[in-house]
Amino acid sequence: MDKLIRLFGIIETYGISRAKLESRGIGFGPTEENGFWTTSQWKHIIPFFEWAVKNDVIYPSGPVVDAGSGTGEPSTVFDAYGFSPVVNIELSGELIEAANETIGTLVSGGIVDGDIRTVQGDFTQDAAYEAAGVAFTDVMYFYHGINQEPLKTLAERIKEESPEGTKLIVHGMFDDIFSPDVGGLTLEHKFRTPDLMADFYVYGK
């Protein structure tokens, strides 16, 4: 299956799943497209991946950890681009349930065929990584939709423990005044989405 067809299969499945799960009272979190930034907008995630892979900012490899993965959208895009294994770590049990059900549908439909693992836990702590069967220090790419406090802790751990070349991708809306606090990691690339509503900063150790 062509990558593009796979990506649109993912988008469609998430759309169906969202409606189904929300009717059962299981939340997906905010998804407004009225100008506010949220972590799960395809029109932001997909252009970033296209740009990053095309320009060799990231290479299809792994392991990848989506730290604070919510309903897991980025993990499926990582999978479509050939990254593996991809680990989702999320605190909220409700969001984990939504992610598991949607990703399960994608796997059974043959749209996602890689190794996506979803665990409930705190991405700043080793227990979550152990549950996923991946050592913190083996992770090549960390992906994070910005939440300042835990991000700072995660970045400090990367700075101290991860090998050279480990990358941290932070998704948010940034400017000169507000930018992620990543405890001394080096900003290597900046990407602003075509609608100018979201930024992806790629840091390296």
């Binding site: 990558k3 593009l4 997909i46 075509p194």
Partner: protein, 397 residues
């Protein structure tokens, strides 16, 4: 001696295939141009997913623009043509949907069946809100088809039909006065009864089957005796299929007449050739249709220069503007009843529409195979949000 490498022919288009709807710099023309070059060069070009996302947005917006104009423009055009400039009393809207009847293994039990619905003389309130569909046009198609399947579930089931797969639809506007005069509306127990199934065979190609029954197509003599002038309108629901056919065509796109202009279209079918020439001439220059101003971009006048097979028609591409709507492109087709009969209904005619679809050369087939192999057909469906409408026939209780 070095042999020169084979250079594939890639058409040098001066206009983009969707150039009447989207500027050259926007995502849709960019993607279509990439696809066209790739299938002529025989080498797949990867289409960017973010461009497809952008294109989906553009196309959805354009569809809404066309959709928003259709009811009012059609109403005013009907008044102009069928009401001699005044509001027509009792202008009836007949809605025709083409569908395939599918059996238990999804085999086509009966293809291209026309399902008629009489929307009455005041259908315009149905045109409010698309309610989750991509257009009001699709909403009406879905609702009317579902209603038909519900009403005729038993009979459909008896024919072994398990699903009804919807293909296209269009609106036809006819005067009640003409329907009475021509015997399609008859008074039964002092109530007007419309013979809808027979009427359909005079409006469009029934393929010999209307709704639930075999229906003979009229002969030319019968047709010319009973047919009445009408107008029609539709939003092309299969525009992505036409785009797919066009991008693999050999001839390059040089002007407004070569590219797609009938996403939203109206048709005027008057009684005689003289009437057709009159209306064709009326819309040949810039004019107004009530509050709509029309600016003519291109005219194909096949009345002055008929096609080699004899077909006569006016195809006018117009930019229409009004204070209440976004400007948009519409195609206006004008042809007299006999031309309509021979192009749409009469299978023996040299220009019966069904004949053209069958012809396809080897090189065209090769390019079609490449479209499939490169998965461009699927990408076009994604861009145009070509969702399939299919309704199950409920089993008997």
């Amino acid at each position: 001696m070095h042999k020169m490498p084979d250079m594939p022919y890639v058409p040098n288009d001066s206009m983009n295939i969707m150039g009447l709807y989207f500027p050259q710099s926007s995502a849709t023309p960019r993607i279509l141009s990439q696809m066209r070059k790739a299938i002529f060069a025989g080498q797949k070009a990867d289409i960017s997913a973010s461009e497809v996302l952008e294109s989906q947005k553009e196309i959805a917006e354009m569809r809404k623009t066309i959709d928003g104009v259709t009811p009012e423009f059609s109403q005013h055009l009907n008044n102009t043509v069928l009401g001699d400039g005044n509001k027509v009393d009792s202008l009836r809207t007949i809605f025709l949907t083409y569908a395939d009847y599918l059996g238990p293994d999804r085999e086509v039990i009966r293809g291209d069946v026309v399902i008629p619905r009489d929307l009455g003389t005041h259908p315009w309130s149905m045109y409010r809100g698309e309610q989750g569909y991509d257009s009001v046009d699709t909403k009406i198609t879905a609702e009317e088809s579902q209603q038909y399947v519900r009403e005729n579930g038993g009979a459909l089931r008896d024919m072994g039909i398990e699903n009804v797969f919807i293909k296209t639809s269009s609106f036809f506007y006819v005067r009640d006065e003409d329907l009475r005069k021509q015997g399609f509306i008859n008074s039964v127990n002092s109530e007007d009864v419309l013979d809808l199934d027979t009427l359909v065979t005079y409006l469009a190609d029934s393929h010999g089957f209307v709704g639930l029954q075999e229906m003979q197509k009229p002969t030319e003599e019968e047709y010319m005796r009973r047919a009445m002038p009408f107008n029609a309108s539709r939003q092309k629901q299969t525009v992505e299929q036409k785009v797919g056919r066009k991008i693999r065509q050999y001839r390059s796109f040089r002007n407004d007449g070569d590219v797609i202009s009938d996403w939203g279209a109206n048709r005027i079918v008057p009684l005689t050739e003289d009437n057709a020439i009159y209306w064709g001439t009326q819309f040949r220059g810039n004019t107004t249709v009530c509050k709509f101003a029309t600016e003519v971009l291109h005219v194909d006048d096949y009345y002055t220069n008929p096609k080699p097979n004899g077909f006569k028609n006016y195809n006018t591409t117009m930019l229409i503007t009004s204070p209440r709507h976004k400007s948009t492109i519409r195609e206006l087709q004008v042809r007299d009843l006999l031309q309509h009969f021979n192009s749409e209904i009469n299978e023996k005619s040299p220009y019966y529409h069904g004949k053209f679809r069958e012809r396809q050369g080897e090189s065209s087939k090769k390019r079609q195979r490449l479209m499939e192999e490169f998965e461009y057909d699927d990408i076009l469906k994604l861009m145009f949000d070509a969702r399939e409408l299919e309704f199950p026939v409920t089993p008997k209780k």
